[in-house]
């Protein structure tokens, strides 16, 4: 299996921006023959990617393109759809904000302080990644329902089966993102800068605001964006606690399910395309944020 070189791999073995490999040896076009399997591995990668991800996603575009403009507008901009977008965006933004505040505090506490069971608690932060969303959904619904443990405490104020329930579920789902993006940055932060600030007479709060916070801000925003992106598409944990009333507590992914149940495949595809476009924009923003974070991290 010598490397059969696909046609699009020309001379441009350009150095990527990875700083780690800047000093390491770069594989020149000739040297590549030392390691075999490029054609096989890249070929399989592209084949698998195309068949599992790209072609099915393109199928959605084709299906949506089969609609006329008025049909597309009717499906994606109906009052019910707009209400759902507003809820999904609003709830995801709010949940990500809650996670930004408490995620930052959690990361800070885990990195800087000592307390009992810290390791277990640290491990628990990843629970929303590991716990199936449906399980989280029914548990949260049981807790925040009017007769649930917390629902009872909040008595006249209803949480579950209102838009607030959506916020609760999305907070759970997005919880690990901010902690896990801020934690390593906080860990690598040089204490000497803080010492310098303190020796120059800064109070602790000033040091945090002027020295620490600017250093972790990019990672905090990345975590916020990741949490927001996850919340926007989330389905499993939300539907149990939301109540799913059209115009009030119906999230955007649920619109797609509704269209599918009415066999309106074109309408479902149209809403899917809108949501996919939103996901792309956020993905782009996250990439830019991460690049910024790298530059910031390198400068610090």
């Amino acid at each position: 299996m010598s490397a059969a070189v696909p046609p699009f791999v020309p001379e441009a073995a350009r150095p990527l921006r990875a700083p780690v490999r800047a000093g390491a040896k770069r594989i020149s076009f000739v040297k590549r023959s030392v390691l075999p399997g490029f054609g096989l591995s890249l070929g399989f990668t592209l084949f698998y990617l195309a068949f599992i991800v790209l072609i099915p996603l393109a199928a959605m575009g084709v299906k949506a393109a089969g609609l006329t403009w008025p049909e597309f507008i009717a499906a994606t901009l109906s009052p019910r759809a707009i209400a759902a977008y507003k809820l999904s965006f609003g709830a995801a933004l709010l949940a990500a904000a809650i996670n930004a505040v408490f995620g930052l505090i959690t990361a800070w506490v885990l990195v800087r302080y000592d307390f009992p069971f810290k390791r277990v608690i640290d491990a628990m932060v990843d629970l929303p990644f590991a716990l199936p969303t449906a399980v989280a959904g029914i548990a949260l619904a049981a807790i925040y329902a009017p007769n649930g443990w917390i629902g009872e405490l909040a008595a006249p104020f209803k949480i579950a089966f209102t838009p607030w329930g959506v916020v609760i579920a999305l907070t759970f789902i997005g919880l690990p993102f901010v902690v896990r993006t801020v934690q390593p940055v906080l860990q690598d932060l040089s204490r000497e800068v803080e010492e310098a600030a303190a020796s120059l007479g800064a109070t602790r709060w000033q040091t945090f605001r002027r020295v620490i916070f600017p250093a972790i801000a990019p990672s905090l925003m990345t975590g916020y964006a990741l949490s927001f992106a996850r919340g926007l598409g989330e389905y499993g944990s939300v539907i149990f606690i939301a109540g799913n009333l059209p115009m009030i507590s119906e999230i955007a992914p649920l619109l797609i399910i509704g269209k599918l149940e009415q066999y309106d495949y074109g309408g479902a595809a149209a809403i899917g395309v809108v949501m996919l476009a939103a996901a792309f924009i956020i993905l782009l923003a996250i990439n830019l944020l991460q690049r910024w974070a790298r530059v910031r991290g390198g400068a610090a």
Binding site: F8, A13, L16, A18, V20, K25, R26, I27, R32, L35, G37, L42, F44, T45, L46, L49, I52, V53, I55, P56, A59, M60, K63, F102, I105, V109, L110, V111, R112, Y113, D114, F115, D122, A123, D126, A130, P132, T133, V135, I138, A139, L140, W149, R180, P184, E194, A198, R204, A229, G233, E234, Y235, G236, P253, I257, Y265, A269, G272, A279, L283
Partner: protein
């Protein structure tokens, strides 16, 4: 953390602030993590141990467990092979368009699970693009097991690749080149040099991939058709029981999944503590 014992005020917070912050963090985590987890087990056992065992061993539940295991048993190895191929190509060679490829590999993470299910319905469903051809040949993909497997593969697509790519990029190609110069064949180099170098990261990726594969709800829900005993995975079974107001059984089955999640977290933590450096220094 020696820093925590540092009481000099300019470099640390006052004990009061410290306690408030710890309290806020623990309160938040209790409310959003511990309480839901406790609820699952308490509600599941509310009807007593006998009801609990009945709930998880009735035929529909067993069928759901089997299907969940089957879906994961197909999806994880597929994504494992893909992860190895992708990371070999991306980490060991330089080529144009690499960054675009990496972005595409990450794509399933940013796609809503509902869309993950939807695309297969649009492709393979009765009114889908390939629907007429499939029904003419009597092939059922959507609302059957193949659709569930496909949707599971889609949502777990990047898990293993994204654990392996940064690690293999960091490790470079010296080891493999040395093996080659000593006369090892391609596969020999891969199995004797590359694979042992990444084995912990691989295990880590498989663990996360499996957890998601067994727990996926949204994508599988769209392609399943919810046929009891046939196309119901465990999370879908939980939903059906819950919607039938059979809360004790729903939480009993859910507690099995929650237990699985806890086991996953435990293994994951052990891997991070013991082999953190081998998993990847570049973990985000």
């Amino acid at each position: 953390m020696s820093t925590a014992r540092n009481h000099r005020s300019p470099l640390s917070e006052s004990p009061l602030v410290r306690r408030l912050l710890i309290g806020a963090a623990l309160g938040f985590l209790f409310l959003f993590l511990v309480l839901p987890l406790l609820t699952v087990f308490i509600e599941g056992l509310r009807g007593g141990i006998v009801r609990y065992i009945q709930s998880v061993s009735e035929p529909d539940a067993v069928a759901a467990i089997k299907l969940t295991v089957i879906a994961a048993a197909i999806a994880v190895p597929c994504n494992l092979v893909f992860g190895l191929a992708a990371s070999w190509a991306i980490a060991k060679f330089e080529f144009t368009g690499k960054n675009v490829l990496i972005t595409f590999i990450d794509l399933p993470f940013s796609v809503s699970p509902v869309i993950a299910g939807l695309i297969y319905v649009l492709l393979f469903g009765a009114q889908g693009l390939l629907g007429p051809w499939l029904s003419a040949h009597d092939i059922q993909i959507v609302f059957a097991v193949p659709g569930i497997v496909l949707a599971t593969i889609f949502v777990t697509f990047p898990f293993i690749a994204r654990e392996l790519i940064p690690l293999m990029q960091e490790q470079g190609t010296e080891d493999e080149e040395a093996a080659r110069s000593l006369g090892a064949g391609g596969w020999q180099t891969f199995f004797r040099v590359t694979l042992p170098n990444v084995r912990w990261a691989l295990l880590y990726g498989v663990l996360l991939c499996n957890a998601r594969a067994m727990g996926e709800f949204g994508a599988v829900s769209v392609v399943s058709g919810h046929i009891r005993g046939l196309t119901n995975t465990m999370p879908l079974h939980v939903e059906i029981l819950y919607n039938e107001y059979n809360f004790i059984a729903a939480f009993a089955v859910a507690s099995v999944l929650a237990f699985l999640a806890l086991v996953t977290l435990a293994i994951k933590s052990v891997l991070e503590w013991r082999h953190g450096g081998d998993i990847s220094a570049a973990r985000a």
